[in-house]
Amino acid sequence: MEVLVGIGEYRVANPPSWVVTRGLGSCVGVTIYNSIGRVGGLAHVMLPSSKDFRSFTNPYKFADLAVRALYNEVRRNGGPQGLQAKLVGGARMFSYRNEAAGFDIGTRNVLEVRNALAQLGVRVIAEEIGGSWGRTAILDVATGQVLVKTVGKGELVI
């Protein structure tokens, strides 16, 4: 079964299923996978931090709140042991004039996702990030492997 994750959403599933999110640009797709309980999920993060915003309706578009929610859900379904994360996306699709190196949305998204995972004690075991191109991420919940597709730059599994 294919489970589609929209922008600012997260989904958790059991095998046999694939959790899919399309067209990650500066957005980051985070997977948290429990290899023992064979449960995994994916969040599509759009913005680095909810603290930059005074009000919002959907908390799951922010790295800090989405990662925590995804973690809780995976943990609830498969326990706290053996959780591993992978990151996809965080690109810089446009070269903005007044954007100093390292301050682009993609890079900041990646940093905040890593921070949030570190606080929760979840290890990042693979990343396919950066550059200036989009990526589609497909998590195979049976194995924890993530297939990354691009437009014209091939595909790979992390």
Partner: protein
């Protein structure tokens, strides 16, 4: 943006009345009318732009609405700074981008990987964006300084989201004008998008109040 200003903006956006949306539609109409004329001159073909739709929505709603269901296309973005600030973006599916470019005799038979085709699409996006903002500039008596156009060819979601996230400036509710294009009677799959910065959006509302006041006096 200062917090006080941001509060006011958010309050305004969420309290938008139908009448204001109508007035905002009119602003979009002024911009797209000018943009259609400019594009028509550039292509030497008849160009029609639909009446712009004005939407007030969250950032991810705007992205989803412009993502062409996971499809791939081209985007040309121009950033405006100064008193009239915001993001303008022309998006087109690959087929429609080629359809548009085929209007230029000197580019016939060339594909999307050709650098002169990129340059032509950038210039189309640039001219549409600049003429849209010029019309608004006259109406609002505010000036916008454009960036050179930026070109991208990728998943719609990937670049639309990046542009909106970059322009958000700490505000989750955005005002987006979108309009559809018809060139030589053929509808193009894509949109012309204008997202004013939060401060400019406040300025637009202020400008509207002035106009409404004048109308009441008549």
């Amino acid at each position: 943006m200062r917090d006080e200003k941001r509060d006011r903006y958010e309050q305004r956006v969420t309290e938008l009345a139908i009448a204001e949306l109508d007035a905002l539609n009119e602003i979009g109409n002024i911009g797209s009318g000018n943009a259609a004329t400019a594009l028509s001159q550039l292509l030497g073909a008849r160009v029609q732009m639909s009446l712009p739709r004005t939407a007030v929505c969250t950032l991810e709603e705007a992205c989803a609405a412009l993502s062409h269901d996971g499809g791939v296309g081209i985007g040309v973005e121009v950033e405006f700074s100064g008193g009239l600030a915001g993001t303008m973006m022309l998006t087109l599916t690959e087929d429609s981008a080629l359809e548009l470019v085929s209007q230029f005799a000197m580019l016939s038979g060339k594909g999307l990987e050709d650098s002169m085709v990129h340059s032509a699409l950038m210039e189309v996006g640039n001219i549409i964006s600049c003429s849209f903002v010029t019309a608004l500039s006259d109406f609002l008596s505010a000036q916008g300084k454009p960036s050179p156009p930026m070109f991208v060819h990728d998943y719609f979601e990937a670049f639309v989201c990046n542009a909106l996230a970059h322009g958000a400036d700490g505000v989750d509710e955005v005002l987006v004008f979108t309009t559809e294009l018809k060139v030589a009677e053929k509808a193009l799959a894509g949109e012309l998008v204008f997202m004013p910065s939060p401060e400019t959006y406040m300025g637009i509302l202020k400008g509207l109040q002035v106009t409404e006041g004048v109308e009441e006096d008549v």
